[in-house]
Symmetry: none
Subunit: 202 residues, 4 copies
DNA sequence: CATGAATGAGAATTCATTCAT
DNA sequence: CATGAATGAATTCTCATTCAT
């Protein structure tokens, strides 16, 4: 069946992407060779170039796939008529779960894409900016509704919130923070509580 | 005379380090060649290797120099009998001022070391961890004195605080946040207020 | 078809090895560049590294190929029920013929491996030693059978024999000894006669 | 005193040469840097170039010094009215003693000069050839006087003799032959007896 | 004489990418 | 689609030699 053939073709592409995630996570984007990806995927060297124009495109693809999901999720959350606290919890939860579900992929995105955001194509930077802006928009409307303080700019608040989330992921990636099942849930609550309530007693 | 000679000997080394900061900031550690550093410094290629064993060692040196200053500053702040809020403000201020004083250097440290989980970040993990621990210790003692809530772990609080600071710097580095003179001062206050007071109205 | 394809794949590897022999012989292992080998072989620079891990590995391969043949030959000779004089003549003949057949290769082996006490010679010591030991074993059994004097240790006798052979090759290599067709045959006999009968009249 | 000054100057030169012997023996001519020689000698880097034009010249000097002594000795031996057996014993003894007295220097000469005789300046090759010719002359006159067989060419006989001697030294250098006090004396006798009497019983 | 900083050509090796099959 | 041999530009690091002091 031609459908089966097409599925198989897609399968190999997926195989390569998944292998790339593992290899990038293990050795870093710069630290690995295209050959390593092919080996990890168990496919021929040249096949990588059949499906992807370049090594960069593999990373681009991985990033865009997942970052796109996140943007969709943030937009979806934003559209709901929920308290800002719940919205932020949903976003933090989504990112934390993304890491829980596929730590290698999130490691690659944070370490190899976010880090190199200015050396890579500017397109990534726009995607990243879009996330901050969506979060900023959530903050902004919550400020208008009186849910959040107005003396801190929305953009800044978004950075503080996202920075806290990313730092927790970095902590896990660098083996600085403990990483047990309960830590994931706790992290989400801690982040929201720290950012919304502050560290000082109320 | 011999002192002058010794200073002159050191001069070129410093010249190379300063040139490396600019080149790393402009092209990224991986994106530049050792030749670029030598050119930028106006010295012969080989002299770079006279003073440094490798390209890596240059980055290591830059990182350790500045990170060491930061660790000293945090330790100094910790030792003072001030409210935790002032301590955190002093630390955030120091980091923000480090960026204001030498944005290229901080960019290099954040982009090429702090987030490089597979290369430099990993090899300087102890130094990086030390910073978190010092901040965590400040939080912990403030929790004991009742200045801060006790239901969020010190380590986690330290991550949230440092994450917010670093993200603000990242915002400047990646041209996401506005970067005017008043923004630097404002940033320090915003960070402390966000982390201590929270975004929700009190 | 697939056999032909496989042969073709091997062809380039052989091309490189043969080119390396000529280049090493002409310029010496240290005196040539990998680019010279690639040029001489008429292949792209990178292909050398496709087939060999390093410049060293090329020399290792050349040495082991031929030295292995020699060890086999010596072992084969040793196993035959012939007079020791004939055995030594067979070994000397094999080495002399090796030179006659491929003087460049033997030059490389002697100049760059066998005498290189600090690099290749040291790392191939076991193979080199094995040759002496095989020859020593031939001497030893000839001493037991009364064919050879017993007052000279087998190891020493092996060194004297091999030393004479190698020095003759060195003489050819360095243009000290005349090198005509009849010299090759004569050399074999001279060596055996010198070592077995001695230079003094009997 | 100006004499003392001049002696001191000479001392440093000697210091460098002696250090070079040790370094060359340890790491090989190609495997060491000029800096290693300076360090080993305990002198400043630049001083090496004050006394020698180049790294090559250091090796040249070492070789010519000792090889010259050997040529003198062979010529001296040749001039004496002694049996050829004694002459060869004197030459073998001189070379063996040279090694016993300064193994590093002989190692350097055999491994780094003799080996590279065709890549280095041709002048070395002429010196080496001169030694063979002197020995060949000794053989030739012994053949005329009936002390040695006439059916083996003098040049060839010289090669066999010198080859046996050098191989014994190589055996020591490569740790293949035992190297105790008595081995040195035995070696000399074994060499002469093997070459003059042959390995077959008389 | 003595020092060691400064120079820069050179070489091995790597690896993304192409291409013939 | 699949394969992996072939290409060659790029870059780090080495180190003999020079030179200013």
């Amino acid at each position: 069946m031609s459908t089966a053939g097409s599925q198989q073709a897609t399968e190999k592409r997926r195989l390569i992407l998944d292998a790339a995630v593992r290899v990038f996570a293990r050795e870093g984007f710069h630290g690995c060779r295209v050959a390593d990806i092919a080996d990890e995927a168990g496919v021929a060297y040249g096949l990588v170039y059949h499906y992807f124009r370049s090594k960069d495109e593999i990373l681009d693809t991985l990033f865009l796939e997942r970052w796109g999901l996140m943007l969709e999720e943030i937009a979806r959350v934003d559209a709901e008529p929920a308290p800002v606290r719940e919205k932020l919890a949903a976003i933090a939860g989504f990112i934390v779960d993304s890491y829980r579900y596929d730590p290698d992929l999130m490691k690659v995105i944070i370490v190899d894409v976010t880090r190199a955001a200015n050396s890579f194509g500017r397109s990534h930077l726009d995607e990243i900016r879009a996330a901050y802006e969506l979060i900023g928009a959530i903050v902004e409307s919550a400020q208008k509704s009186g849910e959040l303080r107005r003396d801190i700019t929305p953009t800044f608040a978004a950075m503080a919130f996202y920075g806290a989330v990313e730092q927790v992921l970095s902590g896990w990636i660098f083996d600085i923070l403990p990483e047990a099942a309960e830590d994931y849930d706790q992290a989400k609550e801690f982040i929201v509580s720290t950012i919304c309530d502050g560290l000082e007693p109320r």
